[in-house]
Symmetry: C2
Amino acid sequence: MKSRLNLTLREVEALLKEHGVQASAQRIAVCHYVLTTNTHPTVDDVKAWADENFPKMSLATVYNTLNLLAGVGVIKALKFPHSDKAHFDGDLSNHFHFLDEDTGKIYDIPGESLKYQLDLPEGFELSEMEFLAKGKFQG
Amino acid sequence: MKSRLNLTLREVEALLKEHGVQASAQRIAVCHYVLTTNTHPTVDDVKAWADENFPKMSLATVYNTLNLLAGVGVIKALKFPHSDKAHFDGDLSNHFHFLDEDTGKIYDIPGESLKYQLDLPEGFELSEMEFLAKGKFQG
DNA sequence: TTTCAATTTAGATCTATTCTAAAGCTATAT
DNA sequence: ATATAGCTTTAGAATAGATCTAAATTGAAA
């Protein structure tokens, strides 16, 4: 069976079209890269990858494309407290993140690891809950 | 009994000294303001307040002071996904935040409103958990 | 194949924040 | 009280990350 981690370029192209996004070469490449990594890359990370694998892609295109993809919900934009840079995540499944406070590395934690029950005061209508675990990881 | 919301300037001065911070007039004023509001002010908010109530305070001092106070743990620095600006919170008690996605306003939610049980995978050592509720509030 | 809109690009601009170095204060020892 | 050494404050310059602009390029569709 198929995980996002081994999507082909063709499949990514189809995915973009499904989301009403014109599938240019740059968009396919960037989208494919973000969907097939677990490293939560920043714009700079994606640019560095492009410099090796898709030369001549401008920084503006990296920004435009990542924002576009996040806008239509193909990937997610993340902000973490230790850094000003946006990170991007191709994993839309139920999970949250663990930030290693020593290294700045981000790890995925399955959503099932956290059971919670929330009772908001009157008047608050919840749309989404965000979680971040912080500490250190020794792998 | 005394909540942080009605601390006097003298009490704030004492608090700073307890934390090993020299209690200059600017620091007392900024610290008092952040401790006695529930509005999670940004740097600009604090600067705007200062322009009315402590004229001639420079923007650099607002930044320096807020960072210093957060560094020694008298207040907390917060980042939210809807904005690039840092927010500051004088409430160190057990609570988390609700972000109104329409207005950008931030509300306090008592920590007791959320019960949770976390089972991290092997090797993760938790130091702190961060929560953010998002949605809309009709007050 | 012409055309019109969408995409990409380099560079300028913007925003939040930090840095710099000079000027102003404050505590403490005399 | 006064000197002085070390803080603190300040204005403005500098930086980092992201967005905007307008021109060039590409692509889709008649």
